[in-house]
Amino acid sequence: MSDVAVDCSGVWKFYGDFPALRDISLKVPPGRCLALIGRNGAGKTTLLRILAGFSKATRGRVSIFGNQPRETDARRRIGFLGHGISIYDELSALENLTLFARMYGLAEPKKAALEWLELTGLTRVRDGLVREFSRGMRQRLAVARAFLHNPSVLLLDEPFTALDDRAIGVLQALLQAALREGRTIVMSTHQLREALELATDVALVERGGVAYQGPRTPEMLADPGWLYARYGES
């Protein structure tokens, strides 16, 4: 097994002539949390979608524990939470989670679904159709879906979006527990304080390139804007 959980080297992505990603190289060892920070349109979502195997890099190489993201082994290891929550509006919360638990081949799909509904505080509405849920409830269900199959790599795009303070606390606790269990997290976010509290490493993405990459420092924690001021373009 590879000793690098997420490996991305020399990745370029072009949309027509426009380079959305420019020569990005990142290595995330197992058990680390990398926060991708950057302005809107910097390329964070594009990078996460390439890591998850939804999009192909125009140039460069990406691997998840040594496997290409589209391979079945890699897909089993990845838990992805994107802008779209990948939850069916016409199904209930329990039906949605049971469906994904079955697709991931979990031994007891319904039990796993019920456990995650409990963990995300959705047990009360487990039989309610998702189309009737508030935005925050939908996001919590999406978090449950991403964690459901115990993935060893979590790729999270703006995971704190639409969550209230209590739900943010629940998600942070889940992510901290995931880190303690040795899972790897790569997340993009604009909620710098929440992300930096959790992150072991930080990458500042600007105009498709990496402007800074390294461990999270005390200065970043004390002033979340410090990274932009020090390394960002004015």
Binding site: R75, R76, I78, F80, G82, Y88, M103, Y104
Partner: protein
Amino acid sequence: MQQTKQRGAMSWVGNVAVIFGKDLRAELRTKEALHASLSFALVILLLFSFAFDPSAEQTHDIAGGLLWIVYAFAGTLILNRSFVRELPNDCLDGLIAAPIPAWTLFLGKSLANFVLVLAVELISLPIFGIFYNVRWAQQGWALLLVLALTTWGLTVVGTMFSALTVNLRIRELMLPILIYPIMIPALLGAMEVTGPLIAGKPLEGDLLTWVRLLVGFDIIFTSLSVALVSTKQKG
């Protein structure tokens, strides 16, 4: 070794069943495609009944053709929805991310479409009988076999192209344009057999040749679609 093979077979049957159940359940909750397709079929049958004299012998001769034109158009309304259903909330990403072979996803969706299209056909068949004054039930089982064979061909080709056109803005227009030319052999066979069956002739002689064509069409296009989907996933 034997156990591993059995587990593998169970696993793909399970994957197909999960997708089949999900699509069917989602459609039965909203009934969007079902209502649209059924209403369309009934309206077209009604309009055709104004255009052709139900008591005329000629109308009975072309009844098979009329029926399959209606079924083909009504069927595409259901097929169009098959992958469009995955667009809200980026549900397609969830399916792509899951560690299941793409061909099991394809077969699950095809089966769900098959059941829905067949349901529309079976509901509109008695109404067709009333509008056109035909006793379609004389060769009921043989007719059901032809309906099933042709509908499977239509849903396999339709589901394939529904996946390919899902991200196009003019997908509602593109799907029929793409699938009808491919469906010509199957629709031709279905029309040739359905007319005589509705008239009460037994399924034998030349009619069996058309049924064999339908079986061949289904086998070829199911295999081709499964191979194409598997190749695309690996690529």
